[in-house]
């Protein structure tokens, strides 16, 4: 456990000393602050639009950080060969993978916490009401990012940084199109194409399971079963994908 904690802490420290993280956070803050502008330009309940766009900005910026930082922090460790010093010590490769993953999750969580605070304050300023459901939405986004970070970790040990970033981005995009993919499996002609789409549907997580933005924005009831199911779903995907990352990394010769 000590090795995992040390690697995670070092990953976190490396990220917070990297200027690029602040670029992403700055971008996220600007997006959240500009929700008021969108609210003024759009017809409808301004408070709801501020929340809706704010939550989308939070999700998008978290995704950017998860994708970019995973590649920087995991691929850089292998490319710059600092990993040699870790693996020559009494550390198993799965501990390295878990340490990097938890470090990455900690960075995303810290960013998400900060952006959520900004969003809560923005909503408070515009609506004069504290909305605790924004925190619930942030927690669900965190679950989504934990799944995405697991994929980013897997791709980081599987392939080159740029390809890994693109593949993680593809998981994010396809993961939010699961419902459409399911429809496609029923409607496209050709059995082979349907099988291929079905394979993608089952391999890529349905990230919309973590998306409760509509319920939060419109004050709709949130079914506890859906929340519990989302938690289990995230845990299963994180476990399986990290296991695959370990299987790949434990047989890899590092050069």
């Amino acid at each position: 456990m000590r090795a995992i904690r040390a690697i995670a802490a070092n990953t976190f420290r490396e990220a917070i000393r990297d200027r690029i993280l602040y670029l992403f956070i700055g971008f996220a803050v600007v997006m959240v602050l500009s929700t008021k502008l969108f609210g003024m330009l759009t017809v409808g309940d301004e408070a709801k639009i501020v929340k809706d766009i704010g939550l989308a900005a939070m999700q998008f910026s978290s995704m950017l950080i998860a994708v970019m930082m995973s590649m920087l922090l995991i691929s850089r460790e292998v490319d710059s060969r600092t990993v040699f010093n870790i693996l020559a010590k009494p550390v198993r490769r799965w501990q390295f993978i878990l340490g990097k993953y938890f470090g990455l999750v900690a960075i995303v969580a810290a960013n998400l916490l900060f952006i959520t605070l900004v969003l809560v304050v923005v909503v408070l300023v515009y609506t004069h009401q504290f909305d605790p459901m924004l925190i619930f939405a942030a927690l669900m986004t965190m679950l989504e990012m934990m799944v995405l970070a697991a994929f980013a970790t897997f791709f980081a040990v599987l392939t080159k940084p740029i390809l890994g970033s693109l593949l993680t981005l593809a998981v994010f995009v396809i993961g939010h199109m699961s419902a459409d993919l399911w429809l496609l499996t029923r409607q496209v002609p050709g059995a082979m194409t349907r099988v291929l789409i079905a394979v993608v549907y089952y391999l890529v997580p349905n990230l919309d399971r973590f998306n409760f933005h509509t319920e939060v924005v419109h004050d709709l009831p949130i079914p506890m079963a859906a929340v519990s199911w989302a938690g289990l779903y995230a845990a299963a995907f994180v476990g399986v994908v990290l296991l695959l990352a370990d299987l790949r990394f434990r047989s890899k010769d590092l050069k």
Partner: protein
């Protein structure tokens, strides 16, 4: 003068093998449309407790690949590696090893001290007294004054010293150093040499690869010469060089080297005296010819091969 911890009274300790590599084989597959490269072809050697063991060979001989296999950075295709009698993959074996990579791969965002703290966590060292221990190691490698600076601001020599410090931090039984003197200035080289000697005096076994032959000759109890993925020669430097005196050098006056019919390997004429080198088989012919010409023989001495000559001979054997 080297201080050896083991003496004749504890001779049995010499048989204690700290590192054993047997029939190690490794082939790299560069990918599609490229031929596989067999780097290690059944490499075997043993390092005994308390030794300073030099691992010599040209670029591409398999030195770094062997070290990476020992430290589990790569996986050999076949063979057995044991560290302190344990399988090299066991955590207990890894706890007993201090490893320094060929180039100093360090976290540039950390200070030297933070980097050592991180290593201490990985080594699961006790936290009590850790800061003192880190200070001691930084002092040992001459980095006490710069330990709190970010490593991104270090020179190569300083990075090399911190890399050495992290290898020493766990007070390892076996120190594995891959080219520890490369890229260092003479002062740095001398410091690293002194550290290796101090570690050996304190009871550690030191296994290091190097291209710098004078350092190897000065430091090593034994060396292994690795060429083309196999060990070509192994033993104490003096044993490897004994029986290699195949030339003679002579100094004389009263004759010119150019006048001699004895085949000369080298010649030089100084102020009043001439110096020549001949092969051992022409030694008597040279003495006779100098006598016939009435020259005064000042000295004639056998010349043995140097470690460099020995290495070059092994390298050339492979090139042929």
């Amino acid at each position: 003068m080297r201080v050896k911890l083991y003496g004749t009274s504890t001779e049995e300790k010499l048989t204690d093998i700290r590192l054993s590599v047997r029939d190690l084989r490794k082939t790299f597959d560069p990918g599609l449309f490229e031929a596989k490269v067999e780097v290690l072809k059944g490499l075997s050697f043993e390092v005994e407790r308390g030794e300073i063991f030099g691992f010599l060979g040209p670029n591409g001989a398999g030195k770094t690949t062997t070290i990476k296999a020992i430290t589990e950075i790569i996986y050999p295709d076949a063979g057995e590696i044991r560290v302190c009698g344990l399988p090299h993959t066991s955590l207990e074996a890894k706890r007993r090893v201090g490893f320094m990579t060929e180039s100093p791969y360090v976290y540039r965002h950390l200070t030297g001290r933070e980097s050592l703290r991180f290593c201490a966590e990985l080594l699961e060292l006790s936290r009590s007294g850790l800061e003192d221990r880190i200070s001691r190691v930084l002092e040992e490698v001459g980095m006490a004054a710069s330990g709190d600076r970010t490593m991104g601001t270090y020179s190569k020599g300083m990075l090399q010293r911190v890399a050495l410090a992290q290898a020493l931090l766990g007070e390892p039984e076996l120190l594995i150093l891959d080219e520890p003197m490369s890229g260092l200035d003479p002062v740095g080289r001398r410091d690293v040499r002194d550290i290796i000697l101090r570690q050996a005096a304190a009871g550690a076994t030191v296994f290091f690869s190097s291209h710098i032959i004078p350092d190897v000759e000065t430091l090593c109890d034994r060396v292994a010469i690795v060429v083309d993925g196999t060990v070509r020669a192994i033993g104490a430097v003096r044993d490897l060089l004994s029986g290699t005196a195949d030339r003679c050098e002579a100094t004389f006056s009263g004759a010119e080297p150019d006048e001699l019919t004895t085949p000369l390997l080298a010649r030089h004429v100084g102020s009043g005296e001439a110096w020549v080198m001949v092969s051992s088989e022409h030694r008597d012919a040279l003495i006779g010819e100098l006598g016939e010409k009435g020259a005064r023989l000042v000295s004639i001495n056998p010349v043995g091969s140097t470690l460099e000559d020995l290495l070059m001979r092994h390298y050339e054997d492979v090139d042929r």
